[in-house]
């Protein structure tokens, strides 16, 4: 588990550098979703970077397409495309656009407009059922994104078809671009809403990698029901002066801010290295 935790810190450093270099990006939401992505891509999903379109693969849809930097950094780290391309993120002619597209090996669908990913994931899950394929479909949504009515259309369809091969994940960081979600337009009670739509809901600390992996590995808990993992997170997680600040939704770190952020993250890496209590998760194969 320590290796996985180190990976998450390293990816935070990578994505901050990407955003700084590109002078563009979504800092807060990328940092809040890193641990969810790490759990899925390094431990849970059956994928093969040498065969991005392998028919048996698990599917991942980044419905909150703006949190793209961590996603790209992971795909590069896993070998879907050369790491050097990350340096060209958002540059003229790069295939690494500011929201994911299928030009990027490993990306399943072009996203960025909120409220689209779940329906596409539903279609993939229905296709899996039609073809009796065992793959699972994971769709990561933002909490602010749940304001889009199309999310709830898709939620109804998923429940109607009993898609127990579909896992929705909400990055519940409680902030959106204008401020706190509950002040912009109240979302709560989110768990009850999803339950009312026919989904099985599991709450989890979205930064506890061990619990995240455990949660993803145990779903589906109930057959014939889609599952919603409500991942409670902190926007900007990992860097003290970015955490819980709405301004950092798409604020780009300056030279000085980047230096301070990397310093903090390096310190976390060192502390982790010296913390023997995190060595114990034996089943980790990362």
């Amino acid at each position: 588990m320590k290796t996985l935790m180190k990976k998450a810190i390293q990816l935070r450093m990578d994505l901050l550098q990407m955003i700084h270099r590109a002078n563009s990006g979504h800092t807060g939401g990328s940092l809040s979703s890193v641990d969810i992505l790490v759990a899925l891509f390094y431990r849970v999903m059956r994928i093969d970077p040498t065969r991005p379109l392998w028919e048996e693969r698990d599917r991942f849809v980044l419905s909150k397409g703006h949190s793209v930097e961590g996603y790209y950094a992971i795909l590069a780290d896993l070998g879907f495309f050369p790491k050097e391309e990350l340096e060209r993120y958002c540059r003229l002619g790069s295939f690494l656009t500011g929201h994911p597209t299928r030009k990027v090996p490993g990306v399943e669908v072009n996203t960025g407009a909120l409220g689209h990913g779940l329906a596409v994931g539903v279609g993939m899950a229905i296709a899996g059922k039609m073809d009796s394929k065992p793959y699972k479909v994971y769709v990561l949504m933002g909490d602010g994104e749940l304001g889009e009515g199309s999310v709830w259309e898709a939620a109804q369809v998923a429940a109607h078809y009993g898609l127990d091969n579909l896992v929705g994940i909400v990055d519940r960081n409680r902030l959106q671009i204008s401020g706190y979600t509950e002040e912009v337009l109240r979302l709560e009670n989110l768990a009850e809403k999803w339950r009312a739509f026919g989904w099985e809901v599991v709450n989890v600390d979205g930064h506890d990698l061990e619990r995240l992996v455990g949660t993803f590995e145990k779903v589906p808990i109930l057959a014939k029901k889609p599952h919603l993992v409500l991942a409670h997170t902190v926007k900007g997680k990992g860097v003290s002066f970015i955490e819980n600040k709405k301004e950092w939704h798409h604020h780009v770190p300056s030279e000085e801010e980047l230096r301070r952020a990397l310093e903090e993250l390096n310190r976390q890496l060192e502390e982790l290295e010296n913390d023997v209590s995190k060595d114990g998760y034996k089943t980790c194969n990362c």
Binding site: V109, N110, A119, M130
Partner: protein, 313 residues
């Protein structure tokens, strides 16, 4: 032109026939099985259908997900909703993503007649043509719709196919052949060329007959593909005619007429008259009454052509 058939039924029947052999074909609809005429598919191949209820955005998104899982996904439903409510999904999940989804947009234009402008789609050519990566097709009769359906099954590219609701005359022969992206020269004349698309093409043919009776020999061209558009054919027609009249069941803005003008902007000089729905919400009436009011029927086309010829001297 004695036999009549609704193009939506031709597409649904053809697709079912092909789907019996091609297991990749799936159908998605949004409580529009009846209006799309796709009940037969739901009865015979229920395991390859997805009903999403009244939720056009979900229908397109789900279809994109199916297509990205190697299905040939067909979405059936009213043109007014798929060119507006589900438009962002068509743009992003289908065209931008490049997922093999075919949107069969039924009851297009003013097919719903008196139901009013919420149910009309007079903007869809303009909207869909402005999106890269998706073909825009308006078949003009049941036989052409059948041929286009067969063509679509072979293609992995997204398409938006707009058809009407009511039975219309069959103008082609069973042996007629069509090419992707090509227009069809239906009648060779000389004084004027009438270029039409979709379910007003048969009116254009009838108008040519009426014009002949008063001594005007009109060329008639059918342009089922609004995108890709057969620019070469238009230029060729313009080279041989001084006057062109375009006819479409669409706003005069952004439709066939403007596409033709675009082709001619750098090509041969030619006077063009556009017949379509003016920039207003159409009057209440059946489709035929609305056609007559705005001059989209054979009589209206005939009058417009005569007026145009006289005016231009």
């Amino acid at each position: 032109m004695s036999q009549k058939m609704a193009t939506r039924h031709a597409i649904a029947e053809t697709l079912l026939k092909i789907a019996r052999e091609d297991a990749r074909i799936v159908v998605v609809t949004s409580d529009a099985r009846g209006s799309a005429g796709i009940e037969g598919f739901f009865r015979e191949l229920p395991e390859r259908t997805v009903e999403v209820g009244i939720a056009e955005q979900a229908a397109i998104g789900v279809a994109a997900g199916l297509a990205l899982s190697r299905k040939k996904a067909y979405v059936f439903g009213p043109a007014c909703f798929y060119s507006a409510r589900g438009f962002e999904q068509v743009k992003n999940d289908v065209a931008y993503t490049g997922s093999n989804v075919k949107v069969i947009a039924v009851s297009g234009g003013v097919s719903y007649g008196p139901l009013g402008s919420t149910h009309h789609s007079l903007h869809d050519i303009a909207a869909l043509r402005a999106i890269p990566g998706i073909d825009v097709i308006l078949p003009s009769d049941a036989l052409q719709a059948t041929a286009i359906t067969q063509m679509l099954v072979e293609s992995e590219k997204p398409a938006y196919v707009r058809v009407g609701r009511n039975p219309i005359p069959v103008i082609y022969e069973p042996q007629s052949r069509f090419e992707h992206g090509k227009g069809v020269l239906l009648r060779e004349g000389k004084e004027v060329a009438i270029i039409a698309t979709g379910e007003v093409v048969w009116h254009a043919l009838e108008a040519a007959q009426l014009l002949l009776e008063v001594g005007v020999n009109a060329t008639v061209v059918d342009m089922p593909f609004l995108k890709p558009f057969d620019q070469d054919l238009i230029v060729e027609i313009a080279n041989r005619h001084e006057r062109i009249v375009t006819v479409e069941e669409h706003s005069i803005y952004g439709g066939l007429g403007e596409v033709v003008l675009h082709c001619l902007a750098q090509g041969p000089s030619c006077s063009v008259k556009i017949i379509g729905i003016p920039d207003e919400y159409p009057i209440t009436g059946t489709q035929a009454q609305v056609y007559a009011h705005y001059g989209l029927d054979s009589r209206g086309i005939q009058n417009a052509v005569l007026d145009f010829l006289q005016r231009m001297g």
